[in-house]
Subunit: 550 residues, 2 copies
């Protein structure tokens, strides 16, 4: 009988399921479905007042609806029997948070609260809590809270405490009424198993839960806001479990609904970005997993906790049990290339691309590839969407330097790509400076799939080979590894590491650095760092320009 | 009998003639003709090796051919009799230099030298003498030459000594053979009158002739290059005359050729940019003439010589006799706007503009006008073509700061225009700091004619009214004022100032500053200055990037 693990990847727009053969790691079937309500940013499905700019909500029932669809489709596609799926793992965007009743019913289902935005799922990128983030961070600094060390001293408005505090400020009745606030990842597991636990990955990276310290203390919360004092002690019950720990077995109802066996074990989940780390086959220290898409994320495992500037989070057991998982990030990568293609490609280029049946991106790439490093004289700071690592400053903005009357679009395009790769190098350097050198790089995401030119620039700029992950869907694959881990007693694996070693496919390719280019890029990088330090630390002109926007 | 002055404006591509009525300043006729050989940049008309990049030559016989055409056409157009033209004035690009025989024959006419580029006219923007400029400047600094003060310590590769030194280096036989080197302005006057004199304007701004000091000394020249020691003492005979001084009368031959009266007085000429100063009606101190076109030029008259950073030249009697003429400049203005329109306008914008029958520039302007100052968060350093005033550094480059994923093309376009106007404000500030405040601004050139949006930004950024010159062709009109001055004994005027007061038309319009916008721009300007000082003085990153281009 074939044996499979089911991996579920809940992204921003859709959920994807894959069935991975526990014998050889082959992906036997997969399916994807977009959330019917997608990202809710204009008005609630129930109607009512338009939402504020930068508010992003979701409907939790979309998750369940799509889950049923994609599992059904996967099982059908592979002709898989109910008994053949031995474990379930999942990943989710985070901090994607909802308030629930004690039975797991989302408050937004309640007719009384259906028109209250704060009762819905706040998506990870919901930006309504900037003031609250500041309030949390200031109180933590004032009290010298030790948990701050694990987040390089900063609290993002996208994280759990600011999001809950926003609810207290904007809709206190929702906070009062809520039995619990729960990450969507944990909520789906709760639905499937009837057991409420907290992913150590979500709790650690987004909830300021630190294994050695526990959740932030009641005393601290009271100083932030008295009404929030009981958040962790009263409103967030459930053990914090490392990804791959068994939370429970599939309930009879969900077994029937999904066409799987009752009691099929379900693993504690992780965040989608972090799922890609084991999904890329990375389960050991000194290998950095690079998630390169619209934004960039760098993740590294290490046996020790080292605190340094440039880390968005350090979480014990957060990615692979037994290790501290380090995470850093760049807020814009492919987003900048897309911005350029949308806003800065002249019509003659567009016309030529159309005539030749290629995209504007391909035409730009073709021309940009012919340039030598440094030939354009251009240099970009890749801060179009602020800087997460290492400066943690959302007010920073993009910079382009070296423009002349001869500057051509493909030169700017190349400089934009180079800028993002210099940003990655700066982060890698911060790790090395902190005593966490990197021996190997494994990349996943849209850029390695679709942009070999950018990948070559990354190899040249880091002056290191960049392996491309073998898994086509590394996050879903990582979740399937969780399923393989909880299936251990029934033919699965003893740990994520064992599962990854046995199942994760080898790299699909390697980008080797060009030593000549690397030499030139060393010099350009030095200039990048000069600008980086000046605009990132010494001089506040970018911040003042933002303030002047009014 | 009507009485006219003939003004001739020799530009880079063409010559223009106007007939100005000495009674009321009315332009009775005008004509323009492009040089048959235009700007020679690929190969000489005689064929031969391709010219080096950035070499720009001209054929002096083009000047004479076009001169005959435009004068003939003007006289016909106005039905003007030979006796009715009482004086001739002209302006020319400068330093536009040629080597001649003793009879005024250009060396490039000689069959033996016809294939030697150094024997032809070097146009003002000919760039073959960068090393020579450095050599001249270093020797002057070493010797503490006082003339340097009048040029803020810098020698441009476009000026006379570097151009001649280049000839010595590349074609010593041309230097040996030359009876004289002469500005094209003076050469045309020499042809017309048989008298060889030197325009105080050309000599002062481009030849380092300082009224109090004379030409640079033989000792200095010997230190630069022994072979050049006799340049001014042997190879540049002729008095240095202020513009508007009578050089001589039209020869019989030229009178016949042009259909004018023999002996018609011809004035010492000036440079085209400087001709626009009286052409705009500016003949007094404290009014700054702004020439706003592809590049920008600022000119001011003052009774005293004050040395300060930011002045490309201070020349006694260089523009209007009795005053020191100050000149500063920005190497790119409208050129940057044109660069943007050519390289950065996306196809949807182009399509919309075409659908509506407007230009891309007009569409961008329409959208940029709707933005409030500082709204985009963008700020540009306008150094796409280096910085002439006040930094005198050709290695500087353009900078754009404040980019975000929401940045739109019209925002960048507006920031580019604002950058050029901040550059003007920085120069005006340098004058004020030196004790030369400006009470009035009068603008001429392509920008005031075609870009009211940019003009309004200039008024807002300077927070001062900007008058637009009444004369449609201020340079040609300024030259006609020279003709009116030499015609003094025969119904003309006693001086350029008198002529300008009587004949120059009033401003055609005024751009008034918006006080609210001006307040915001004060703050943006402070940020501009921060970037200006950092990249212009403190930090050499732009220079290093240029060096890296290889």
């Amino acid at each position: 009988m074939p044996r499979y693990s089911l991996g579920l990847d809940f992204g921003t727009e859709s959920v994807r399921a894959i069935l991975v053969d526990l014998a050889d790691g082959r992906v036997a079937a997969s399916a994807e479905r977009e959330y019917p309500h997608g990202v809710i940013s204009d008005a609630l499905p129930a109607g009512g007042a338009p939402l504020q700019r930068d508010w992003f909500l979701q409907d939790p029932d979309d998750y369940l609806y799509c889950l049923k669809q994609v599992v059904g489709e996967s099982l059908e596609g592979g002709g898989t029997g109910a008994d053949e799926v031995l474990g379930i793992g999942l990943d989710f965007t985070s901090c994607t948070l909802l308030p629930c009743d004690a039975d797991g019913a989302p408050l937004c289902r309640d007719p009384e609260l259906r028109s209250e935005p704060q009762a819905w799922v706040k998506l990870w990128k919901h930006h309504g809590a900037a003031a609250e983030a500041q309030q949390v961070a200031e109180a933590a600094r004032r009290r010298g809270e030790r948990f701050l060390d694990y987040y390089a001293g900063a609290i993002s408005s996208e994280w759990l405490m600011p999001k809950v505090l926003e609810t207290i400020h904007r809709a206190p009745q929702v906070y009062e009424r809520a039995f619990t606030f729960v990450e969507a990842a944990d909520w789906v597991v709760w639905q499937l198993t009837g057991a409420l636990a907290r992913s150590a990955c979500c709790a650690g990276y987004k909830g300021q839960y630190v294994r050695e310290l526990g959740w932030p203390s009641e005393g601290f919360l009271r100083e932030v806001e008295p009404r929030m004092a009981g958040l962790f002690t009263e409103k967030m019950p459930g053990p914090v479990l490392a990804p791959g720990t068994r939370v429970g077995g599939l309930t009879g109802e969900w077994a029937r609904r999904l066409g799987l066996a009752e009691g099929t074990p379900v693993a504690a989940p992780f965040i989608d970005a972090h799922a890609a780390v084991p999904g890329c086959g990375v389960t050991e220290p000194r290998t950095m997993a690079l998630a390169l898409g619209t934004s960039f994320c760098q993740m590294l495992l290490a046996r020790e906790a080292v605190f340094f500037e440039g880390v968005a989070g350090i979480v014990q057991d957060g990615i692979v049990p037994g290790f501290y998982g380090y995470e850093s990030g760049q807020t814009a990568g492919g987003d900048i290339y897309a911005w350029f293609v949308e806003n800065c490609v002249p019509s003659e280029y567009k016309a030529e691309a159309e005539r030749r049946g290629i995209s504007a991106h391909e035409l730009l790439t073709e021309r940009a590839e012919r340039l030598a490093p440094a030939q354009s004289g251009l240099l970009a700071l890749d801060w179009w969407n602020g800087n997460r690592s290492i400066l943690m400053d959302a007010e920073l903005s993009g910079l382009l330097l070296g423009l002349t009357l001869d500057t051509r679009p493909e030169e700017i395009y190349r400089a934009c790509i180079e800028g993002t790769m210099f940003g990655t190098r700066r982060i890698v350097q911060a790790y090395a400076d902190a005593g966490l050198p990197v021996d190997r790089f494994v990349a996943s995401g849209g850029i390695p799939r679709r942009n070999p030119f950018a990948m070559q620039l990354l190899a040249d700029i880091l002056n290191r080979p960049i392996e491309v992950a073998g898994a086509e869907q590394p996050a879903a694959f990582g979740s399937a590894l969780l399923g393989a881990t909880v299936a251990s007693g029934r033919g699965g694996y003893g740990s994520i590491r064992e599962a990854a070693r046995a199942l994760a496919p080898p790299p699909s390719g390697v980008y080797e650095p060009d030593p000549q280019a690397a030499k030139v890029y060393d010099r350009l990088y030095a200039e990048y760092v000069t600008l980086y330090d000046y605009f990132g630390r010494a001089e506040q002109v970018m911040r003042r320009l933002r303030d002047l926007r009014g």
